[in-house]
Amino acid sequence: MATQKHTIVALVLDKPGVFNRISSLFRRRGFNMDSIAVGHSELHNISRVTIVVDGSTVQVEQVRKQLEKNIDVVKVTDITQRDTITRELALIKVHANPGTRSEIIQIVTIFRAKIVDVSADSLTVEVTGDTPKVDTLYKLLKAFGIKEIARTGCIAMTRGDNASI
């Protein structure tokens, strides 16, 4: 079965253990999670979770239903097929010396990323964008030697007036 990355948005009660319930479900049912990002939503006591999952349409529909079965989960939507804005943020600490620094800065500028920290032999870059953009920048910077990378995982929202979920 052809697999594809799906973006799932869930509203969940802001209670202890909810995150554990979600991750346990993915582990137990053998669903493949690419990334997960959690934060407050516009609703009181409700968090918003964005999960990127790799799977066939049938598998991902199972993921959605199994998530929705959870009593602490209020609503789940697969927004893959919709017109969405997806973003993630990454911090990349890259090796830099006087010889390579300007080249790195040029690449960073093209990507409209920012240098947020400079030290004797490294630069730390902050980049936001969709996953392919972050991946591409990462690939380019790899040539200089990556010391460290931290990524937030994807968050997503549909375009237009209507709420995503």
Binding site: V12, L13, S24, K65, E68, I71
Partner: protein, 569 residues
């Protein structure tokens, strides 16, 4: 008025009409047990192992339809519940398990008898709670019972630290539940109901597969109305047995690995499968790609996640089975499927269930058939897991609704005796028949102590073949007859029963079977029958693992089982 957490818990249980608790106490649940002395209306049944408390709660829930309640202490008490909770989870049985926990300041410190039971039971409960304040107890219990019972039922665990049991709070049971994440769909979508009715009207070879959902939602009459009106044969799942009278003219056995060959062949030939309150378990479907290859599928279930999980569905209907059938039946015309029913009669004649006679040998099928005769097919029968379970399902024809209590999904050996305890408490007016295997029975036979102490009316029939029989059968068929670890020594079961003051008999000859059953029935209270049966008898028919239902292996013997069937019941 202020009350302790324990009092609030007991008050809440009373509000939920709880009559009985199965449990064992220990350090972390002592305050709650101390409070039980103030609540004589809450009967406590002391079991001998916490696993039995959970199974007994299941047995009680299965026969009464009400949530079964069990108590255990922290640590080992709680972990011993796990098998029973998992069993309840897989068979959609409403159970509320309450465990004591070490006092709040000790949580996370690896204190004596501390274990993270909410973490452990997370994947095997419908929901669970760690109560962090006495003021949350009432709300938690109310929510627990509501969730356990509603939608697709399941087990709930409430973990209460020892200090919360003694801390005080106001008791208020009037607050409304606010559960934005829990809204079971109860009624089928009208457009889907009409679509289903149209498929049923157009089908030439329809079959109904009736599952546990019929029993849980008590949709017996609605199922019968659908079957009779549209003249559709009814095949049940293992847990669907006793959802439809076994001797009804439209009853065509049950499906799956050890279901009747004619049932499996009927599904193979069908052009429409109406699956009601069942979940296409692999033991039921056989090789899923070969399941009902000619059929469209209507799937009715209350759990949306079951739709399309294993089998592709043409018309999904999410809702409570009783509601759905009630509304759907309005769109069903009186139909005549005579040709199909005649075809099925032929199929049944060609692929019958083997005879229980066993060429005059002391076979377990014969014993079970004799129990059926003696109880006129009316008894509540509880089984363990293994060959005896399959023979009971095959040779005891269930006509009375909800009388076959067995462990289906988890397949828990040792289920029979403790589940019988719960069933006997739930149906005190009748004798419960506990049909056991010698292997299965030895897993939980300590519950003879509970039965003796509570004077429960349970007739125990052990099919004693000296083997872990089902595994032996697999070794014989698929592992070159190498009987590794399946020959099983047994204690003298009659002496064992005697130690508990339970009357018992060894039965080794066919002619003694009937009188022994009579003697057990005439004896008031518990009686144990140890039937020493053919050691290497196999369960047939059998769909070999990995094969499709149509590839069922049939009984090698020629004698066949027939019994009169009635046109209405």
């Amino acid at each position: 008025m202020k009350m302790t957490g324990s009092q609030i818990l007991c008050e809440s249980l009373t509000k939920e009409n709880v009559e009985v608790i199965f449990g064992i106490l220990g350090g972390s649940i002592l305050p709650l047990y101390d409070t039980l002395t103030q609540y004589p209306q809450l009967r406590h049944v002391l079991v001998r192992h916490e696993q039995a408390a959970a199974h007994a709660a299941e047995g009680y829930a299965r026969v009464t339809g009400k949530p079964g309640v069990c108590f255990a202490t922290s640590g080992p008490g709680a972990t011993n519940l796990v098998t029973g909770i998992a069993d309840a989870y897989l068979d959609s049985t409403p159970v509320v398990a309450v465990t004591g926990q070490v006092a709040t300041p000790f949580i996370g410190k690896d204190a004596f008898q501390e274990i993270d039971i909410t973490g452990i039971t997370l994947p095997i409960t419908k929901h669970n709670y760690l109560v962090s304040d006495a003021s949350f107890v009432a709300q938690t219990v109310k929510e627990a019972f509501y969730v356990a019972k509603s939608g697709r039922p399941g087990p709930i665990l409430i973990d209460i630290p020892k200090d919360i049991q003694v801390n005080q709070s106001e008791f208020d049971y009037t607050t409304k539940l606010v559960m934005p994440g829990y809204k079971p769909t109860l009624n089928g979508h009208p457009a889907q109901l009409k679509k289903a009715a149209r498929l049923i009207a157009d089908a030439r070879k329809p079959v109904i597969i009736a599952g546990h959902g019929i029993i849980i939602s008590e949709a017996y009459d609605e199922l019968k109305e659908l079957a009779e009106k549209a003249q559709i044969p009814v095949i049940t799942t293992l847990l669907g047995i006793s959802s439809f009278p076994g001797s009804h003219i439209l009853s065509y056995g049950w499906l799956g690995m050890h279901g009747m060959a004619y049932s499996n062949k009927a599904i193979d030939a069908a052009d429409l499968v109406i699956a009601i309150g069942m979940r296409f378990d692999d033991r039921a479907t056989g090789k899923v790609s070969g399941f009902a290859p000619r059929a469209k599928v209507i799937h009715i279930d209350i759990d949306p996640a079951e739709i399309g999980k294993n089998v592709k569905v043409d018309v999904p209907i999410v809702g409570d089975v009783k509601n759905v059938l009630k509304s759907m039946n309005k769109y069903i015309d009186v139909l005549d499927n005579r040709e199909w029913l005649e075809e099925l009669e032929e199929l049944q004649a060609k692929h019958p269930l083997g005879s229980f006679e066993g060429e005059g040998r002391m076979v377990p099928q014969f014993v079970i058939r004799k129990i059926w005769e003696a109880t006129r097919g009316e008894a509540t029968v509880v089984t363990g897991v293994g060959q005896h379970q399959m023979w009971t399902a095959q040779y005891y024809t269930f006509d009375r609704p909800n009388t076959f209590i067995t462990s289906g999904g988890l397949g828990t050996m040792g289920f029979e005796l403790p589940a019988s305890v719960g069933a006997a408490v739930g149906r005190p007016e009748e004798a419960i028949w506990c049909i056991a295997g010698d292997g299965s029975f030895q897993m939980t036979m300590q519950e003879l102590g509970t039965i003796a102490q509570e004077r429960l009316n349970i007739k125990i029939a052990i099919m004693n073949n000296g083997y872990l029989g089902m595994v032996r059968q697999w070794q014989e068929m698929f592992y070159g007859k190498r009987y590794m670890a399946t020959p099983l020594g047994c204690p003298d079961f009659v002496k064992l029963a005697g130690a508990y003051d339970i009357p018992a008999l060894n039965v080794t000859r066919r002619e003694d079977v009937e009188p022994a059953i009579q003697q057990a029935m005439e004896n008031p209270g518990c009686f144990l029958l140890n039937f020493v049966v053919e050691p290497e008898e196999n369960v047939y028919p059998m769909v070999p693992p990995g094969a499709s239902l149509a590839e069922v292996m049939e009984t090698p013997r020629k004698e066949v089982l027939t019994w009169p069937r009635k046109s209405t019941l």
